[in-house]
């Protein structure tokens, strides 16, 4: 009997075994990939982005003026640091779905900055971000302000919103 004849059952089992190993590995890779926000949702015709059964859009992204210290004096950040404020409009009937979100700003070098930089905003009042939850339950439309600290050499180009449980989808709203 030839070698192939003697080992035919082993050879037949080899294919499914390999397929099983590849499938298990692929599941792990897929799980890791799906946890990352990598697929930006498109805007609709009115400029709204849809995620987590809510609509959102970037209203403004500009230098944060009007921050004050606890004593009521104008707040001045450290030299070469610029505080930016993004205002996001939301339309969410059930804001609990979008409540567990992370908002960040992206600069012209692709770097991302989280909200509420504690050290850069230390000593200021009124620079606390609201995230995605609404404060007034009587309306589904609301706007939240988010605060970021960037080097003065950096230009913010977009605001990102990642909602826990909806990755790999996320919202990327370019600055107009």
């Amino acid at each position: 009997m030839s070698w192939f004849g003697r080992n035919r059952w082993g050879l037949i089992a080899l294919g499914p075994a390999l397929a099983l190993v590849v499938a298990v590995s692929a599941q792990g890779v897929q799980g890791t990939l799906s946890a990352r926000p990598r697929q930006a949702v498109p805007a609709d015709g009115d400029g709204w982005y849809h995620l987590a059964e809510a609509r959102l859009r970037l209203s403004t992204l500009e230098h944060a003026t009007g921050l004050v210290t606890a004593a009521g004096r104008p707040f001045t950040p450290a030299t070469h640091v610029v505080i930016w404020r993004a205002v996001i409009d939301f339309d969410a009937a059930n804001d609990a779905l979008i409540g567990d979100c992370q908002v960040s700003v992206e600069d012209d070098l692709g770097r991302t900055y989280d909200t509420d930089p504690d050290l850069e905003l230390a000593g200021s009042v009124g620079g606390t971000s609201r995230g995605c939850l609404r404060v007034d339950d009587s309306t589904t439309r609301y706007s939240n302000a988010e605060f970021f600290a960037l080097p003065e050499s950096a230009q913010p180009i977009a605001v990102r919103v990642v909602v826990d449980g909806y990755q790999p989808l996320y919202v990327r709203m370019p600055r107009r």
């Binding site: 450290a78 030299t79 070469h80 640091v81 960040s104 600069d107 692709g110 770097r111 991302t112 900055y113 989280d114 930089p117 504690d118 050290l119 850069e120 970021f148 600290a149 960037l150 080097p151 050499s153 950096a154």
Partner: protein, 197 residues
């Protein structure tokens, strides 16, 4: 001929087992697989681990430390105070593992005897905005001359889930310096973190 085949078969099995044993002995263990990835460096030069750049700017020591609330902390060892500059390179991050290691493999985590302004998880670091400040460690006097700074982005290093990049920056300290630190009874006050650009 049959006896020859039998001996050959036994020899083949034995050789296979020996080769297998040799491979098992040279293969990395589970500990090796998850070992911390140390990134060596020297003071005054940034050492990059993941998305974090760490630069040691100075070392001093003391026998007493004064907390921000005025309370003075003594030690049976010595306080080693490291001036570090921390920078996020790509996205907001933080130092989530911060320790000194001696040559015997002992590690001394950043002191938790009070809430330091720079500690594991604090402060948040924004890309391109370096933060400079001092952080204190409580170590045995005999170990103070053989320390290196271990800093990384991942807290899991502290609980054994390692497989992460951590700095290994040697801190040059002489025995005479440690003796001087111990003899000095003037409490040290740590420089708080500040953004330096």
């Amino acid at each position: 001929m049959t006896r020859l085949k039998l001996i050959g078969g036994i020899a083949a099995v034995l050789v296979t087992l020996l080769v297998g044993q040799a491979l098992l002995r040279t293969a990395p263990s589970a500990d090796d697989d998850s070992a911390t990835f140390l990134v060596g460096g020297r003071s005054f030069r940034p050492v990059v681990v993941g998305g974090l750049a760490v630069t040691v700017l100075g070392i001093r020591g003391a026998s007493l430390v004064r907390r921000p609330d005025g309370q003075i902390l003594d030690t049976g060892g010595v306080w080693v105070i490291v001036d570090v500059e921390l920078t996020a390179t790509q996205q907001t991050t933080a130092v989530r593992y911060l320790a000194l290691a001696d040559r015997d493999g002992n590690t001394y985590r950043v002191s938790q005897r009070w809430h330091q302004a720079i500690t594991e998880g604090v402060p948040d670091l924004q890309p391109g905005l370096p933060v400079d400040g001092e952080v204190a460690f409580e170590v045995p006097r005999d170990a103070a001359t053989q320390l290196s700074l271990r800093a990384g982005e991942h807290w899991s290093v502290a609980v054994g889930l390692r497989s992460r990049a951590v700095t290994d920056i040697a801190l040059p300290v002489e025995r005479s310096e440690v003796d001087r630190w111990v003899a000095d009874r003037d409490p040290a006050v740590l420089v708080p973190p500040a953004v330096v650009l």
